[in-house]
Symmetry: C2
Subunit: 406 residues, 2 copies
């Protein structure tokens, strides 16, 4: 008998009919003799509806109230699922963040789980109940409701699996696993049977939407075996797990892209200590995440600083940066909202040379100009003009031979 | 400086525009220097939508899950109102049942408040915050979410006013007070400036929808001054309070009606101990409320038993009663789903004779047959054919001279 966590995303619980479909997957595990904990997202579109409601109430809604408001989406799906399960004769009980006591810090809209009290859940499992937990939400030490950020239900599921030492955590979604790249823009994309935590993390960070990056970090930290599976089919699936011998043979595992990028350049900045801090601190104070940062070699005491932000943050970032640029004596600020980031990811990269060269050559051969480059042990990212995104992904997928299993 | 509880119903917070309108009434109290606690219902129609959702998941939804589901309606309105208030520069904080700790018993769907912890609210008031509390909901000792039954937000508001010793509790609704009868069916209906708890309670029980009966009971118990006011106008208002000298002059204060009635007669029942218990216990076990009960004088050891139930319960009640009737040897069961109850209410009735006679004569003069009668110290109710409801109300309103203030 195993302990299994099953997480279903918004498209899997988009309406009552789909919720009743999901029930089949749950019952199958239960009938196989396993203890089952189910974690749900809100119905597809519901969180967006609630966010729009908050913004119709105020341009910048109070964050405590915002979190309490949008957490209702998961409250609706978990209670509905528990109602369906009970009506079919299964003992089932829904748990909200405060009922489990999923304790988080106080960072509204992007809270981090600090501790999960497993007592109440264990008690219900012992009684034979299917436990249905609202994803995405927790409470801080003062019982204020917090939320974990977009895709936070993945993190809820992995955190519960870790806290309860579950045998595995199955993330059910509308695709049947993790692909070498997005099948929607590259028809040669191939599903991976296995991927390492580190690669999955880089893929999630650089644009693959299948798992929230934080959930992968947590899975790695607590060694939770995560299966990405399809709600709508029993085929396929990808196991996210520790690196093993098999994986090492693959130099590149996947290509990702992120179209939600914008580029800001501060031109002719005095190159002296404290300037970077002066530029980036006010952005961080305003919760604007800066992704890639590049600084040219200094010329006669001046340099250019280029960095990327989310497209949605561009307007606010520009306002803030223009003020600081003036204060530090920079010449001007240039922005480009027509960029994208394309990344090549693979654990094998660390011990194989030539991956970067191959990537740059492949893009150059297609006339795609590289504006910025950033690298890690297992990833190379390039910022390019957005219109070349699909082209870049497709040619890189070919160049690294990803359609064939090695 | 006073402490004021303001409660707004579903039509008052039906959308963002209306919520922003409600804010004006709140700010006015705050600017006058008062401490303000706001209690809200769900947006008009939202609770019904959630109930429909529950019933699409199961014909008889698990009650614990049902309560947790429908409590989200109030969570949405309180957070939205707090967002609006904060964006206007007022410190405001929403509280859910578990955050206040509004402790109830475990009777899902019709829970009773046992205790309210006032500490968290007092702390916020001391900081100058407007406290916005979700009506209709509480938690039991195990932190399961419970709801208080239809109109339960009135009870939440009065209970909070009692627990916090508020100076008054203002119930804002879509009418501007308590009327001598329903203005929609009698154009001579007159708004009352004051009404006693007992009269208000009888009116609420016998069909006036302006306040939940339980909220009036609680207001009486803790002597909470309740004002019924209009959200959409500053005119009018009715004070519900202790009986005073003024009120005693009015023999009859109001006429109510309830069209949601059905009548069941068990014909030729053996008149022996235990028969009534045998008939009514299974109804109560199935949560069917029996209202009026009449038993004819016994004739040769047999009698007829007639009683009323809510129209919505008729089908189930009939099934249950037919089974018991057979078991106790009654001849047959007759039902009538075309009845209504009309009631005349007034504290003066207790010390004035002739009210009943006047009521019966007035109805008889219009050819309205009285099927059942029930009386209390301050109320006389008659069951009549439903089609005569409006006629009965109008002629009784005239007969007792209710259009003129005495």
């Amino acid at each position: 008998m195993a302990l299994v966590v099953q997480k279903f995303g918004g498209t899997s619980v988009a309406n009552i009919k789909k919720i009743k479909n999901v029930v089949q997957k749950i019952i199958r595990e239960k009938k196989a003799g396993h203890d089952v904990i189910v974690v749900l997202s809100a119905m597809a579109g519901e969180t967006d509806r609630l966010i729009a409601l908050a913004h119709s109430a105020s341009e910048s809604p109070d964050e405590r109230e915002y979190d309490s408001l949008i957490s209702t989406g998961e409250q609706v799906t978990v209670t509905l699922l528990a109602i369906v399960l009970n009506s079919m004769g299964y003992r089932a009980k829904s748990f909200l963040g405060f009922q489990v006591q999923i304790k988080t810090d106080k960072a509204y809209k992007k809270a981090r789980i600090k501790h999960i009290d497993t007592e109440a859940i264990r008690k219900e499992l012992k009684k034979g109940a299917i436990v249905v937990v609202a994803g995405f939400q927790g409470v801080d030490d003062d019982n204020n409701i917090t939320t974990l950020g977009r895709g936070g239900s993945d993190t809820s599921a992995v955190a519960l699996a870790a806290a309860l030492k579950a045998d595995h955590c199955d993330i059910y979604t509308d695709v049947d696993g993790v692909y070498t790249t997005d099948p929607n823009i590259c028809n040669k994309a191939r599903r991976l049977d296995k991927i390492s935590y580190d690669e999955m993390l880089e893929m999630a960070i650089t644009g693959a939407k299948v798992l929230q990056p934080r959930s992968v970090e947590m899975a790695k930290k607590y060694d939770v075996h995560v299966y990405v599976k399809s709600t709508f089919s029993d085929q396929g699936g990808t196991l996210v797990t520790k690196e093993d011998k098999d994986m090492e043979r693959e130099i590149v595992s996947g290509i990702t892209y992120d179209r939600d990028q914008a580029k800001i350049t501060v031109v002719h900045v005095p190159d002296k200590p404290g300037v970077a801090a002066a530029l980036f601190s006010p952005l961080s104070d305003n919760n604007i995440n800066v992704d890639m940062i590049i600084q040219n070699a200094s010329l006669e005491g001046f340099t250019d600083l280029t960095f990327t932000v989310s497209k949605k943050d561009l307007k606010e970032a520009q306002k803030i940066v223009e003020a600081t640029a003036k204060a530090v004596g920079a010449k001007k600020v240039e922005v480009d909202d027509q960029v994208a980031k394309v990344s090549v990811i693979g654990v094998g990269m660390a011990s194989h040379s030539g991956v970067a060269a191959k990537m740059f050559t492949t893009l150059a051969n297609e006339g795609v100009n590289i504006m910025m480059i950033s690298t890690s042990e297992i990833k190379i990212s390039c910022v390019i003009q957005r219109k070349y995104t699909e082209l870049a992904v497709t040619v890189l997928h070919d160049a690294f031979g990803l359609e064939k299993k090695k």
